[in-house]
């Protein structure tokens, strides 16, 4: 459809056209995504190929110094002036071999079975009593196996780097270039290779505290690690995709209850994220517009009053609200003493009421934040847009719908996506306000206002049901990834940067 045809349509047709377009665009977005993955795989394969090439080169054309580096890492460096670097390689190799033989190996071999005997009763002849002796700890076996696998990968990478740099050094020597010594290496670490210096610690932190734990938890999702399989007294074992089948498909004894809970929690999580994001966004913007309005005085005062509640730590506001809205809290008490109500309003104790309360309180928490963020941007909207709209006789509502919202929508899409994703994982508001309650008999280990993230927390903290918690974590990831992917793609596709310039 060309632009002219599109403009001729009435708003409802336009809406349906865009609606249809969105879904028509979905396959393409997914296709692009998979194309991207495929390209990534290809690039990765090329890298692997070049690794083998480099190793082959070192083996075929390398002199004895280079060939020695196959076994003694860093040998080529030490004999070619790069003493420090060589010793770092060597040290790494020694540590790796010690780790693997003394420690990692015995865990790695048990990774398939996750241990055979957890605990045995044995007779202690010296004391004349039976004792419990602990043998295999499935959790530690899995944890150290993952650690060992990462260590092995790191070693292979270092070994390859060692050969590659050896090749370079040998080549430089052959064509008679002066070899860079240790001092040059240090200098390059604060210059051309400065990024390595900068990123070393941050990436180590991410590797140890994010990547390895995530891999570990993804593996846990395929085991039966829960309260009845708790090391060190019990073993847990691989169960394949059983947990996913239980939670998603409702198979097994506890399956239907878990599947039902998952559905309910998921629907509420998405509803919550939607309402929490857009009520705050739209209402906050309206308040900001009101304060910005020509003729309203004491702008700074109004703003400061609102900003005050952003400044107070959120947990204080939330705990305070949970107390004020309690059954015997001040709000109910005051309403009763004024004779407005007879019975307490179950703000936090009735399922539906609690959901509404949570969203309303979140509006109370969130509006000042939106005001703070949007005030500056609102002032940037070219005033002549409004002027000409006014001359054409547009009402304030129309101007808001046709100028303010589209402009803000255009400028703040990334912020909105971040907020939406943040709300899916908004632990604090739910947990400190309602604790996920009220409880319901139909829901497995979850209350009626629980989000996926608070359910995950409860499964971990209260139930020690780690395998299900891991499944929930993975599902949350998939949902967030899908949403981000679709919206980022959409926002790029509709990006028409000239529109407001």
């Amino acid at each position: 459809m060309v632009d002219l045809e599109y403009l001729k349509k009435n708003p409802i047709q336009k809406f349906f056209y865009r609606f249809g377009n969105f879904f028509r665009g979905l396959p393409k977005a997914f296709a692009n995504f998979f194309k991207m993955i495929w390209r990534g795989i290809c690039a990765f394969a090329m890298r692997i190929a070049s690794v083998f090439q480099e190793v082959y080169r070192a083996a075929k054309y390398g002199d004895w110094k280079t060939r020695m580096s196959f076994v003694v890492m860093g040998f080529g460096h030490i004999t070619r002036k790069q003493v420090l670097r060589g010793f770092v390689y060597l040290l790494f190799e020694v540590i790796f071999i010690l780790y693997l033989t003394l420690f990692g190996w015995k865990y790695l071999v048990k990774m398939g079975s996750l241990g055979d005997v957890a605990m045995a009763e044995e007779f202690n002849e010296e004391l004349g009593i039976f004792e419990y002796i602990y043998y295999d700890n499935s959790m530690l076996i899995l944890l150290y196996s993952v650690l060992t696998i990462f260590f092995i990968c790191a070693f292979v990478y270092m070994w390859y780097q060692n050969l590659r740099t050896c090749n370079v050094l040998q080549e430089m020597e052959e064509i008679g270039k002066t070899l860079p010594n240790t001092k040059d290496a240090v200098r390059s670490m604060i210059n051309e290779q400065y990024y390595k210096t900068l990123l070393a610690v941050p990436m180590l932190g991410i590797l140890v505290f994010t990547i390895i734990p995530i891999v570990f938890m993804m593996l846990i999702a395929f085991t039966n690690y829960d309260q009845v399989h708790m090391p060190p007294s019990k073993l847990f074992d691989w169960v394949g995709t059983e947990n996913f089948e239980t939670i998603l498909g409702g198979s097994g004894v506890t399956g239907p209850a878990f599947a039902y809970t998952f559905r309910e929690v998921l629907i509420w999580t998405l509803l919550w994220a939607f309402f929490a994001t857009f009520t705050n966004y739209i209402l906050g913007m309206l308040v900001a517009l009101l304060i910005n309005k020509k003729g309203i005085r004491f702008k700074k005062m109004w703003r400061t009053i609102l900003i005050f509640s952003v400044a107070v730590p959120q947990f204080v506001s939330l705990l305070l609200m949970s107390q004020m809205l309690a059954g015997e809290g001040i709000v109910n008490n005051l309403l009763k003493s004024w004779g407005w109500i007879e019975e307490s309003i179950p703000f936090l104790t009735d399922g539906v009421a609690a959901k509404i309360t949570v969203i309303v309180v979140n509006i109370w928490i969130g509006i000042p934040f939106t005001v703070l963020i949007t005030t500056g941007i609102l002032m940037n909207i070219p005033a002549d847009l409004y002027e000409s709209a006014k001359i054409d006789g547009a009402s304030p509502l129309r101007m808001y719908m046709k100028i303010t919202l589209p402009y803000m929508w255009f400028v703040t899409t990334p912020y909105l996506i971040n907020t939406f994703v943040g709300n899916i994982n908004n632990f604090n508001v739910i947990f400190l306000l309602t604790g996920g309650n009220p409880l319901s008999l139909d829901l497995q280990n979850a209350g009626q206002t629980d989000l996926l993230i608070t359910w995950l927390y409860k499964l971990t903290y209260n139930e020690q049901n780690y395998s299900f918690a891991a499944v929930i974590g993975i599902i949350t990831f998939v949902i967030i990834a899908a949403i981000s992917l679709i919206f980022y793609n959409k926002s790029k596709a509709v990006k028409n940067e000239e529109e407001f310039m």
């Binding site: 932190g205 938890m217 912020y415 994982n425």
Partner: protein, 291 residues
């Protein structure tokens, strides 16, 4: 004709005046709704009568006992200790996180190297996992090396993954003209010098933003602290500790003290935030908004 025009003008002015009046009414109502809970909090913190809830807003008897008892009666809840814990945590997190975030952002923004794009995508994808998911494994590791129930462990957990928050400051670094780097490079400056002598002085707003958010985060964090410090009340942070005062068995006795504690936490934090809010807004709108 002339009379008609002034009439029109006058009626227009009247419309404007009423719309402004409505605006003032709405703003006043909004302000009251936003201020009243904090007003209530402060009033309750000075309340002399015992018990959790009252049926009236203004206390009958004012006292500073609740504040005094927070610091003297440490039999069940050690508030000064929580305060110190949180402050120490915030201080360390603030320094380490700022260094990590700025270093990562500089490397990703000003330098070009192989795998840069891949690294950025990796960090983006990792950020989509719920942070709590990896916590179970981290907890086991920390337990193995004896760092649960310790502030060192908590600080490690807070700062270890902070490189994933590079996004905002990288966005800011991207806006600094590349020609500055090039000029400095011609004069023989190393990347290290460029970072410290050129980029950092120009990036003051984002440095303040990073420091501010890093310092504020531990004051309201509940999730990780509650898991890591489980069973040792002396290591709690304020959020975790104050929530204990509201548990069913404590609330009757401790509600007013909770209010006093909340005031003591809120006042310095709110003051700090309001003082530096300009940088906060600049940071959030600069990084998360394209404009």
């Amino acid at each position: 004709m002339e009379a008609n025009k002034t009439k029109k003008l006058r009626s227009k002015r009247r419309v404007e005046r009423t719309s402004n009046a409505v605006g003032y009414v709405i703003l006043t109502v909004i302000s009251i709704i936003w201020i009243i809970p904090y007003f209530y909090l402060i009033l309750q913190s000075f309340r002399g009568e015992p018990g959790a809830y009252t049926t009236y807003l203004i206390p009958k008897e004012f006292t500073v006992d609740n504040y005094v008892k927070l610091f003297t009666d440490k039999s069940l809840f050690n508030f000064p200790r929580w305060y110190a814990n949180t402050f120490i945590t915030a201080l360390f997190v603030c320094v380490i996180q700022t260094v990590i975030v700025l270093a990562t952002s500089f490397a990703l923004s000003r330098m070009r190297f192989r795998g840069r794009k891949g690294l950025m995508n990796l960090l983006l994808v990792l950020g989509m996992f719920p942070g709590f998911m990896s916590m179970t494994a981290v907890y086991f590791v920390l337990k193995e090396i004896g760092l649960t129930q310790s502030l060192v462990g908590l600080i490690l957990v807070y700062v270890a993954s902070s490189a994933m928050g590079y996004y905002i400051s990288k966005g800011f670094f991207d806006t600094i003209p590349k020609s500055l780097d090039e000029a400095a490079k011609i004069d023989g400056a190393s990347q290290h010098t460029i970072f410290f002598k050129i980029i950092l002085p120009l990036a003051k707003p984002i440095v303040v933003y990073t420091v501010l958010t890093a310092f504020l985060a531990p004051w309201g964090e509940y999730m990780f602290s509650s898991l890591l410090m489980f069973g040792d009340q002396t290591k709690f942070n304020v959020a975790n500790g104050l929530r204990q005062m509201l548990q069913r068995e404590n609330i009757a006795q401790y509600f007013t003290r909770f209010c006093a504690g909340a005031v003591l936490v809120s006042v310095p934090i709110a003051a700090l935030f309001i003082w530096l809010q300009k940088y906060y807004v600049e940071g959030v709108t600069g990084g998360a908004v394209k404009g």
